[in-house]
Symmetry: C2
Subunit: 284 residues, 2 copies
């Protein structure tokens, strides 16, 4: 697909969102699709599915420091369409009254598929990317990872607090505070280690993550899982060594010249799976 | 969904596309989703599926007189992804090099679902809608209907010319010529009679279609089917009585004050199905 997406606005498809100059404004555009049984549980409350669909798209805008402007919905009719619409409306209101402009509704067999295109307005230019990490920068994250993992387990078990999985928060305010300062930024959707390795690849550097410095929402025994689990939508970013973060954040690593591996955990290459790879059917 | 889509840009979800003012530009935004077994045949060449996905979205832009700017793709992996991408690239090039900016790729079971968000730039303001038809206007169409119906039959039979179904054309040039002149315009995607009735409802008028004046691509015996079949993507529009069309077009009716029915065929209400209703799983 990269061979087709040659327009500079596409950013080589290596970023959270596209950035398009139109009429003196800089628009940020993203689309996320969620499929029943892949991105949400069969039988999950449609209100929560709608919330998550909005939040994942808003998180892509957050990573660009953008303010939400509008959305278009692709909706496959499901079990309880009214519940989905209630969740959609609540989430759009929560995220600054992004306007539902239209979209398409289809009836089809098979697992339900829902998609959202979100359009935002950049609050700072140039719009930050994941490709600007510089040697010597610090690596930071806005909050703990692993909460969505525990939330999914609670939801599957039918007991405990599942809200972190069901109602993720997109960090739009933090994203706008970060945009003028960061050298690179992205949202953590597929796992900290995997997303950090993508930032390293995009930036042509190696990123060292200090394992014990990462804030986690899980018991200590599950730290390594938490570092590989997605769906928390924290913002991961790099800052020059002498620049303090403008919002609450944890310093979890450093940027080095490119080594043989994109990412090192406490100085050593990481073996095995780093997170949730797109195209997997068995992931979160 | 109309209860949520209250922003003026959404046009009450009663139009082909949304119209959004950004900076000094007027953007036109649309999203169409196509599902295997509903909007395309199981086993249909993915190159053609991609072409049609682009064409249906471009046709929505054509109805607004917009120039294509960019697209975002929602893609469920299928049998032959390379073939789909070839068709996507060919169609985007055909329609003025609209830039593929990004999107999302998912792996899922069940019928393949593909979606496209298209963003265009209005060539004329105010951007025309389907709701402006005035009493006394003439009703016009840019070309014959029924070609896609014959094309689908040829494709199913495995013999004959199926190109009208597989490779529909979006009338972008005609749409831009029409935008400054028309009182109302829309593309015919779901059947001439059904779409004309939607224009009549949106405009608060009754539209009389002169049955024998409609150009058809079928044998005369199948005229009534051709008037109810979609997928031809002609532009249907109304013009003041004294204004000639700026592009090749057929005059097929007239606009009257609102009667009990939105549409009359040779002066009489139409019974039965008018075209392809969204949400049907058995349509074209």
């Amino acid at each position: 697909m990269r061979a087709i997406a040659t327009h500079p606005a596409a950013r080589g498809l290596a970023d959270d969102a596209a950035v398009l100059e139109v009429g003196g404004e800089t628009l940020v555009l993203t689309h996320d699709t969620m499929v029943e049984g892949v991105h949400f549980l069969p039988g999950q409350d449609p209100t929560d599915v709608a919330w998550k669909l909005v939040a994942t798209n808003m998180s892509d805008l957050a990573a660009k420091g953008a303010q939400p402007l509008a959305v278009l919905l692709s909706y496959q009719l499901g079990r309880d369409d009214a519940a989905f619409l209630r969740g959609l409306q609540a989430a759009l209101q929560h995220y600054g009254d992004a306007a539902l402009l239209g979209g398409d509704t289809v009836r089809a067999d098979g697992p339900q598929s829902v998609g959202l295109t979100a359009i935002g307005r950049a609050s700072h230019r140039p719009v930050p990317s994941r490709s600007g990490a510089q040697v010597g920068d610090g690596l930071w994250i806005t909050g703990p990872v692993g909460a969505a993992m525990l939330g999914l387990e609670a939801l599957r078990a039918g007991t405990g607090d599942s809200s972190a999985y069901r109602h993720p928060s997109a960090l739009l305010v933090e994203g706008q505070m970060l945009a003028p300062l960061v050298s690179a930024v992205m949202d953590v959707s597929d796992g900290l280690l995997l997303d950090a390795s993508r930032m390293a690849d995009a930036s042509g550097v190696t990123i060292v993550v200090e394992r014990m410095a990462v804030p986690i929402a899980t018991p200590e025994a599950r730290r390594d899982e938490a570092l590989r689990w997605g769906d928390d939508y924290q913002l991961l970013f790099t800052l020059p060594a002498d620049v303090p973060p403008p919002c609450p954040a944890w310093r979890i690593g450093i940027v080095l010249e490119r080594q043989s591996a994109p990412i090192l955990l406490d100085g050593a290459p990481v073996s095995g799976r780093l997170g949730y790879e797109h195209g997997q059917a068995d992931g979160a």
